[in-house]
Symmetry: D2
Subunit: 387 residues, 4 copies
Amino acid sequence: MAGTSNKKEELRIGLIGCGFMGRAHSNAFNRVANFFDQPLVPRLVAVCSRNEQQTQQFADTWGYESIETDWRALVDRNDIDAVDICVPNHLHCEIATAAAAAGKMVLCEKPLAMNSQEGETMCRAVEEAGVANMVWYNYRRVPAVMLASQLIQEGKLGRVFHYRANFLQDWTISQDVPQGGAALWRLDAAEAGSGVTGDLLAHCIDTALWLNSSIQNVTAMTETFVKQRLHQSTGELAPVKIDDACAFLCRFENGSLGVFESTRYARGHKALYTLEINGEHASLRWDLHDLHRLEYFSHDDEGRLRGWRSIHVTDHDGSQPYMDKWWVPGLQIGYEHTFVHQVADFIDGLATGEPAAPTFRDALATQRVCDAVLESAESGSWINVLQ
Amino acid sequence: MAGTSNKKEELRIGLIGCGFMGRAHSNAFNRVANFFDQPLVPRLVAVCSRNEQQTQQFADTWGYESIETDWRALVDRNDIDAVDICVPNHLHCEIATAAAAAGKMVLCEKPLAMNSQEGETMCRAVEEAGVANMVWYNYRRVPAVMLASQLIQEGKLGRVFHYRANFLQDWTISQDVPQGGAALWRLDAAEAGSGVTGDLLAHCIDTALWLNSSIQNVTAMTETFVKQRLHQSTGELAPVKIDDACAFLCRFENGSLGVFESTRYARGHKALYTLEINGEHASLRWDLHDLHRLEYFSHDDEGRLRGWRSIHVTDHDGSQPYMDKWWVPGLQIGYEHTFVHQVADFIDGLATGEPAAPTFRDALATQRVCDAVLESAESGSWINVLQ
Amino acid sequence: MAGTSNKKEELRIGLIGCGFMGRAHSNAFNRVANFFDQPLVPRLVAVCSRNEQQTQQFADTWGYESIETDWRALVDRNDIDAVDICVPNHLHCEIATAAAAAGKMVLCEKPLAMNSQEGETMCRAVEEAGVANMVWYNYRRVPAVMLASQLIQEGKLGRVFHYRANFLQDWTISQDVPQGGAALWRLDAAEAGSGVTGDLLAHCIDTALWLNSSIQNVTAMTETFVKQRLHQSTGELAPVKIDDACAFLCRFENGSLGVFESTRYARGHKALYTLEINGEHASLRWDLHDLHRLEYFSHDDEGRLRGWRSIHVTDHDGSQPYMDKWWVPGLQIGYEHTFVHQVADFIDGLATGEPAAPTFRDALATQRVCDAVLESAESGSWINVLQ
Amino acid sequence: MAGTSNKKEELRIGLIGCGFMGRAHSNAFNRVANFFDQPLVPRLVAVCSRNEQQTQQFADTWGYESIETDWRALVDRNDIDAVDICVPNHLHCEIATAAAAAGKMVLCEKPLAMNSQEGETMCRAVEEAGVANMVWYNYRRVPAVMLASQLIQEGKLGRVFHYRANFLQDWTISQDVPQGGAALWRLDAAEAGSGVTGDLLAHCIDTALWLNSSIQNVTAMTETFVKQRLHQSTGELAPVKIDDACAFLCRFENGSLGVFESTRYARGHKALYTLEINGEHASLRWDLHDLHRLEYFSHDDEGRLRGWRSIHVTDHDGSQPYMDKWWVPGLQIGYEHTFVHQVADFIDGLATGEPAAPTFRDALATQRVCDAVLESAESGSWINVLQ
């Protein structure tokens, strides 16, 4: 019997960068239409990175129709609607502004930029060009986190007193881990801008600004535990200039207090992003190692029966975010699905005209907190966050 | 720049059934080549179910090139290598034997059949035809479960004393849930053969036979809590003939004792498949609600520091099964990935000549335990399992 | 300044047995008046066991005023109100009947007796003598378990479908553990009557009969994994006649299904008594390894926010049982407190005339289930429990 | 038969204060000899507080032989060896120095004093008098925490990178909670000195200094969420001058980073003291809500089997601290036992001449960190801790 009749519009994607994030985004573009019934369907038109052979292999694996080895060529192509930036941080600004100038929608990996100045430039570029834009702070789209957001929006917490978040890893404890190169640019300040602040705390800050309120001021502390690492570009020992660990205290605009900490030296934790919010009437907790669960404590429950509920966010009675699109109650989804959700929301945003968050402008607020954190760690003083 | 150069061989799939399992399998066929670099790549050639419009919609969503509305037409096509059976249990035997007779590989959803007699027929059919065959007991391919299997194979548990497994759900507590029809055939004995025994305990038994040893004899108890439900095919109340709950005790060939229980009336549990094995030197626990974790207790640990380890099975130092194919340590995968793994293993089996388990013959052993369980529940006696 | 003015009445205790349970009971008698303000205060008048030196040492440690080495002498003393029996099971019947005949209140460690026949004799003895009597099934008095009982009494669960309980230990895995003697009489059938059935499952059954309903019939399986152990009385290898492990299925009078399992061969579990009850509207779970927590799932909670609550039963807003007597919210109590509660309730029972449960008669019901379990394991048939 | 022959020496106790801590200490004095076989046995000679009737009632409940209503009278008595101070913080210094001057051993509730100046005075007093002294930072004596200390002492963690601790409560969220008076002096700065800093963070700091190393400098933030509360002494609204919440960052002398937070506004937490230490080779976690468990992650475990172990610290194979004195493996103890352990260790210290920690001098170090924290919160600068 004759076959397919898919007549949906296409969102033609050009991806720049073939690393870990390139894979995560490609998977999301490929899968969204299997689970979300939307008017636009992503089409993987081109992928770009410097090594031709690796890029072709990546294209074969993920189904990109063509490759480029110069990002300027990709940005200039007429058969692409959206440019997706998955390269190290120091290239975000130049590519994003060029893509905006070329009239392309721009999706950019987090953090937005190397610093707020670059971020401001990028915001102006996309806003002046009037192109859709989004930053991949994907953890907003964990169903449990989105559910937390809904509860907060509905006022279930009442006045908020405390927000605390950690992002703990342990992969750089050995001093034998080198810095630089395709896999380890995150340890090289020239490419990454900062260490855990931009890589990990940026996620925590993005979620906090979204769930709680803006941050007024901060006091911070950073440390670099391993002072020198072999640099892969030179083959020689070089000073490590990123922050291995960073902690900060802050005050939110709504009067609540924040405590944030991140490190790559917390033995036993791989990607333990945890957050907790304590409100007058209820509290919420979540962690990335069991991302399908939301912990919820309600003071409204009967006194003798109060306790933290472990909500297994896999149950679609129609009201848990995103989960009606997947399997059946009890069957969990994982990390990669957050990107699928973000693509779906981006497409919805195009359809409705209400852009999916975080936009570049939203992400700039996070960048400003990161800048203040790093400045405070340097100066030893409380720093006000520019708004 | 010119594009893709994928020259891999294809495994041409014909899927029968567009329900929940049809989705899970289609997703697996679509994704396996993104993550597993194998010589064969599934191609979705045709999908079949009775309603043409729904089938076309399913084909559009998942990328099937054509549709059929009669499974016999699909089985007869020359452009299909493997038939995948995702229809209610009462059709497994007829379709599988026809597909085998047509020289097709046969993949079949679990349980294998309505009973052992049918299962034996199906085994003979695929064995006589010499076609590859496999049953989708997907939970073997949860990385944590596969890791458990490896530990047991390596002898880390020593002599095994106890095996216990539960599969607890709560979705049929309301007597307003009807029986029969596309969505609820699992409640209709005519289509399902049995209730929780074939649907849920079959998973527990399959894993147990694989991880522990064969089962010698059983004593069982079943119950149907809601005696009548509206039947969707007639619109009238009809007796419920499936088992709503089933528990059994058993003795394994290796001398260990087994306790199994399943129900759809355990308020608070959606798909809580739990298993625990107690050996002389170590014990293992796992549950489906947090499927990315394996609990492990080793008596070899220093005395004062012994405790159950919660192993977050997301860390690829190269030795946790499957996980090197996915993301980075700490980032969990979910339910659907078990099917991707099973497809990958099936393809490996074709390449190596060592068939991926469970084959039809393996699944027949599970069927025989199910039959013994149901017979014991009926007779009130211990029943020996035919080997 | 002059001192104490305590004018309360005394409950004069005579304890028989200086083992583990003798310590637990002595501690309870000593402490109850520090925390419970009651009209009667226990006074430790005499303790009895065969070895004079050990008995004197025990008396010194716990504050007993005198010792005996013949239990008949203790039973005959006029300065004792209540005899507390903490000796191996084979002596319960003889001592209890003698104590009752002497007009003493009788407190007896669990299980009540070697079998139902003895139990019946004991019940008649205390009932004919009209003396207060109680069996130390102490786990009823864990605050979390008592809270569970209250919730069930109030109807929060609705119709009950399932009850499951385990009691798992691992201390006899080594075949070098001997049997018999003061410390290991639990492995000697002549003194213990049975193995895990009377020692561990009896606890599970007592709780189940109390929380759920009476048990109608059972099918059971027992195993003795280590067939011979050195007997400490003879210094020679002797057959092990107790059950090392026992599992049974049962039907309760209220229509629910029960699954019970106990063993001393579950590596990694020290005293893991777990129970779970699944009702129409709610479910409850508890385990002895974290005894200060009750897990509670309520279907009445809003759909998207349903989850198992972990209730930390340390919060006295006046409604969690017993906890107003101890510390402040968040500060947990432990194992030994269950005995303090039981003494307090026994004293309350004397004051109110409503005897604290379980009485000998209550405990006889548990004994009858144990007998049926052992008979079923022997015969391989379902056995009706005598009521 | 004739009775007791206890000829042990006595440690004659005079307790000042009949509140919550008076109960906890009295219980510890009463129980220690039941479980610890030591040459000295506490004898409760006298208790003192201002209200005669309440004091007599307390004496009756706990077995004190006499009462006083003026602490100076108690301090002057010749039949008392040790004075135990359980009154609000503002009285610690005066009583402790008087008791030392009278040649009494001095046990003092935490925090040591209102501030470091007082603390220094107290240290000099006990040191010049040459009397035994100790501060009741009882959480050091949780078996799981003591085990953590042993592991750190043995070098199992290697270089330490991070220390984090929280102490979260929720009992003052309602603005209807008054301040001052016998029960609520902790909310009155005049009696308490500070809020959560001295009450809760002091515990966290004491443990950290002991487990990790001294603290060099801090940056802190405090907040008072409810600005006015009715004062029970006047019946009128009065400003709240204590800190409701406090968080601080710090650097330890060993190069590790610290993050500490405490509040009484964390809905859902009653007494959630948590601590975590991340070292090069291993990490440790503990929390007070499940105080009988220690979480331990060892990088030395085989790669694929690494995971956090939940060590149930109830197993006495002779090597878990204190637990050989209590029950049997699997049976947990609770909060009150920490005080029993501290008394036992104090008595051991008298016998061996090696004083039980923390002494006044040890506790002064904690006080100095508290002072620096409060000063930093006031000034907004990093403050060096005086050593």
